[in-house]
């Protein structure tokens, strides 16, 4: 079961991306409890930090980063995504993060150029 990385690294590497996402989320909302007034800013921070780290990778990719922050209140949430792309070069990665008062779900979709 060899990885099928080409020499030019134009494939989407899930592990690398998931590490980046986890660090961005921790950095942006790490030890905080849910506060309605700050959620807007947190969501922007998480997404912008993710995106700037992804650009630093320097790969020829277009990125779409989505962030959902939800207060823990017993409600349920279902998410699904369907993508029409080139399976050999494009990919997606989703990280679910939670603490005592909220959930944060970050999805990154990478489309090769």
């Amino acid at each position: 079961m060899e990885e099928f990385q080409t020499g030019e690294e134009t494939t989407f590497v899930v592990d690398e991306i998931s590490t980046i996402i986890k660090e961005s989320v921790e950095g942006a909302i790490g030890g905080n409890a849910y506060q309605h007034s700050r959620v807007n800013q947190w969501s922007s921070n998480v997404v912008e930090q993710c995106l700037s780290q992804l650009t630093k990778l320097g790969k020829p990719f277009k990125y779409i980063v989505t962030c959902i922050i939800m207060q823990k209140n017993g409600a349920g949430l279902q998410t699904a995504s369907s993508c029409f792309w080139d399976n050999s070069t494009d990919g997606s990665c989703t990280v679910r993060w939670e603490n005592k008062s909220m959930y944060c779900i970050v999805s990154v979709f990478g489309l090769a150029l």
Binding site: E3, K22, V25, K62, I64, M70, S81, W85, S92, W97
Partner: protein, 177 residues
């Protein structure tokens, strides 16, 4: 490490060159090592094969088209209407139930993707994202940022609400240069 095995299985599936993949985010109860007790994060990456080719397609060498921009632009208004139609028709009378909504998200996702593909916009890659949640006096913020070419790429979004649930549908379209 079932995670690693699942990743490799997902990559093997992708190797078969299918153009459509459907993924849903399942809950995994695995704590990562070294985290504090306050927060926990899990990575979920599950691919369910949609329509797959039986024979893997050979890699295609593409020639330059010397085309600078898309011949036909992405029709945002039409896609907005598609989203509105699909969400209202599927969810108008439904109540939130975990199992039902799980199937519903996947179905709606595939339906929307099929209808957008029917528009036959050439050289555009499509990503459809659906969130269905329960209304329970909680708050939620959904945000997204994209790193792309704003002259050619765009997105379309629609939110539907009834007495017991809400649904958010996002369609992103990226021009394939």
């Amino acid at each position: 490490m079932s995670d690693v095995a699942k990743d490799k299985a997902a990559r093997l599936l992708k190797k078969r060159g299918s153009v459509s993949s459907l993924s849903s985010h399942e809950v995994k109860a695995k704590e990562t090592i070294g985290k504090t007790k306050d927060s926990m994060s899990t990575v979920s990456y599950i691919d369910e094969p949609g329509q797959q080719d039986d024979n893997p397609r050979p890699a295609v060498q593409m020639e330059n088209t010397y085309q600078l921009g898309p011949a036909k632009r992405f029709p945002v208004a039409t896609v907005n209407n598609i989203l509105k139609d699909v969400l209202t028709s599927y969810l108008q009378e439904e109540k939130y139930e975990a199992e039902l909504c799980r199937q519903m998200t996947k179905t709606i996702c595939e339906v929307i993707k099929a209808r957008v593909k029917d528009l036959m916009i050439p050289r555009y890659k499509i990503i459809v994202l659906i969130n269905i949640g329960q209304l329970n006096e909680q708050n939620m913020r959904i945000g997204s940022r994209c790193l792309w070419d704003p002259t050619n790429d765009t997105f379309s979004s629609y939110t539907f609400k009834n007495t017991s649930l809400f649904a958010v549908a996002n369609v992103y379209a990226a021009y394939f240069e």
